[in-house]
Amino acid sequence: MPNMRMDKNPMPEQAPDVRNKNFLEVTLGYTAEAAIDEAQRCLNCKNKPCMQGCPVSVKIPEFITHMKDGDFEGAYQKIKETNALPAVCGRVCPQEKQCESKCVRGIKGEPVAIGRLERFAADYHMANVEDTVEIPEPNGKKVAVVGSGPSGLTAAGDLAKMGYKVTVYEAFHTAGGVLMYGIPEFRLPKDIVQKEIANLRALGVDIETDVIIGRTLTVDELLNDMGYDAVYIGSGAGLPNFMGIEGESLNGVYSANEFLTRINLMKGYKFPEYDTPVYVGNNVAVLGGGNVAMDAARCAKRMGAENVYIIYRRGKEELPARAEEIEHAEQEGIVFKLLQNPTRILGNEDGWVTGMEVIHMELGEPDESGRRRPVPIEGSEEIIEMDTVVVSIGQSPNPLIRQTTEGLETNRKGCIVADEDGKTTKAKVYAGGDVVTGAATVILAMGAGKKAAEAIDKEING
């Protein structure tokens, strides 16, 4: 008999006024008892609607069935069949828009906490089970993967399992892409990411850091000189957009990418133990309303800022960030200034930020994306005192690869043009993740990597 309680088992977490001063993980994960209890809420539906909401088609009811019996390792192995990074996905997926949005239990009451269960299984495995990796039989073919973010890692793992010799080229000194430089430690502990990457290495995937494709090597060299049978480009959307308003060059203005890279990848929050500095003032404005903005705001708070504002031109309903992150940010004391749009950043003689002018907005008719268009209210300008500004209004793909690769078509946003299988306009070259879609989610990037790996195998081995 399933557990018919309406609510999810709550997940223990650090108290808000404690955690907003440290970088330790906020949510602490289920206990074994809570995990079994939550698993029993799953009805094991015949048509499995939850699976349709998962971009990598995790066999959700099947893994949860293992969990009901306390067979956590069995559950982990079931997830692993289709998902290369369960400890990551369980933590950062916007489940409310994916698997959990389709859960039957969500019609009356809360859906089954699929993400939390996935996370529990992955954490249980990491803590208790020694990985035994079976190195697949080599098939004599080799594939180069550009970028070691979620998309590239997924493609690399899947191809390695099929017997390909896979080399991943990463521009940074550490593999992981946004999982390392973007998403903060308090949301995704870095040793978890590195453990997942170590598993890939054990599978025989070779990861070459400090190699910038488009500079150190080009895609054409990978194919023509180095003899790769195919190249998968998963280089992401790492080029930050600025607003183009007055004062963006002032000291104290960062792109979210710079701010988060200094803090997360370079461990600037441990300065001066680590050498990379991060300047954070007392009044911090984060411009934008996505996950990146939430991460930047919550980092600023943890770096000691007194007042941290999210400044977003639409309303709360329209915030694109994951529901849990918005809630966590609010609990931690982040102030949401909604329906406001920055018009200029003010500075002093020495070139430092002193304030920001915003104009208040109201929502008008829906635009082409279906969201109601924000319209400025005339004469509603207001000046807010500020000493740090983090611009988090989106990213585009880096131009290095498109500028240096013959015959690779890109669209007007600079994204690589690729079909559903990731096939680009250039022979033997596939692409997926943010470099194709523009900035999206970890799990969509992983889904793209998975599809491309299948397509590459089909092309090479028929």
């Binding site: 000194h173 930050p240 963006e248 990418n257 370079m266 290095l400």
Partner: protein, 283 residues
């Protein structure tokens, strides 16, 4: 991955040369490009211009001035040690093809950065005048190397201790006054020096390329930390540069941005992680 240091040599009391084994970087490097290095896992990522390279040997040479914690730590790394990361080549090579008569100006450490440009111009058959400036004669570097590849070498010192007193701008003015017609000036050095060279060449309408050196983190265009204003537009020095038309740079903004982390740099020197006794021995 670790990169082996093959040679380290002090050029003057605060400037040293380092030759690093990095075959992939050496294979592609061109004058005007730079690398980003990180000493070890506690280190920051810092850009250094490629001062020389040997494609056969697979080595890249950088020339470093000790100005803060990272450069001080790097000066403790000896031949035979390794550093954790050495990525590149980054940025665009300086466009040198087709230039006929060029003044290459290097201020202080900028001389080391200007050297590969002057050398390449010489190889391309251009008439090269090299003007370098130092505070005093003890700080002069690369004099012999520059002599070998320039048609005319002028080494100035601020205090006149080498018998040739003046700033690089004074020397350039003299050449112009003497009737020299440069089709391009390339200026590399501290921002204030590049700014004044540009002010001078603007009067005579001489196209002037400068190599910008803002704060960088990744060096691949993903953070915008190195942004500068050129002709009213925001550019990322790491991917759009580092060379720009010097007459279009917003110098005041660039100089102010250069000071953003000054207080932290001081703190890092005083309280930063100590590396003594834990250099990365390769063997």
């Amino acid at each position: 991955m670790a990169y082996k240091v093959l040679k380290k040599e002090m050029l003057n009391p605060t400037v040293f040369l380092m030759e690093v084994e990095a075959p992939l970087v050496a294979r592609k490097a061109e004058p005007g490009q730079f690398i980003i290095l990180r000493i070890d896992e506690y280190g920051e990522r810092v850009p250094f211009t490629v001062a020389d390279f040997d494609r056969e040997k697979g080595t890249v040479t950088i020339i470093v001035q000790i100005v803060g914690k990272t450069t001080r730590d790097l000066s403790q790394v000896e031949a035979g040690d390794t550093i954790a990361d050495f990525a590149g080549p980054l940025g665009h090579p300086t466009p040198l093809e087709g230039l006929k008569k060029v003044a290459v100006i290097g201020g202080g450490l900028g001389t080391a950065i200007a050297y590969p440009q002057a050398k390449k111009l010489h190889e391309l058959g251009a008439d090269v005048t090299v003007i370098t400036g130092f505070r005093n004669k003890d700080l002069v570097i690369l004099e012999d190397e520059l002599k070998a590849i320039s048609n005319k070498l002028i080494v100035a010192t601020d205090d006149g201790s080498n018998g040739n007193q003046g700033f690089v701008t004074d020397m350039l003015q003299k050449e112009i006054d003497a009737g020299e017609k440069f089709d391009t000036v390339i200026a590399i050095g501290p921002l204030v020096m590049m700014k004044f060279v540009c002010k001078l060449t603007e009067k005579y309408d001489i196209p002037t390329l400068v190599s910008m050196n803002p704060v960088m983190i990744d060096g691949t265009g993903m953070c915008g930390g190195c942004r500068i204003i050129v002709g009213g537009e925001t550019k990322f020095a790491c991917v759009d540069g580092p060379d720009f038309d010097g007459h279009k740079i917003d110098w005041d903004s660039a100089m102010k941005r250069g000071k953003m982390f000054a207080d932290y740099e001081k703190r890092a020197c005083e309280e930063g992680h100590c590396r003594i006794g834990r250099t990365n021995r390769a063997d």
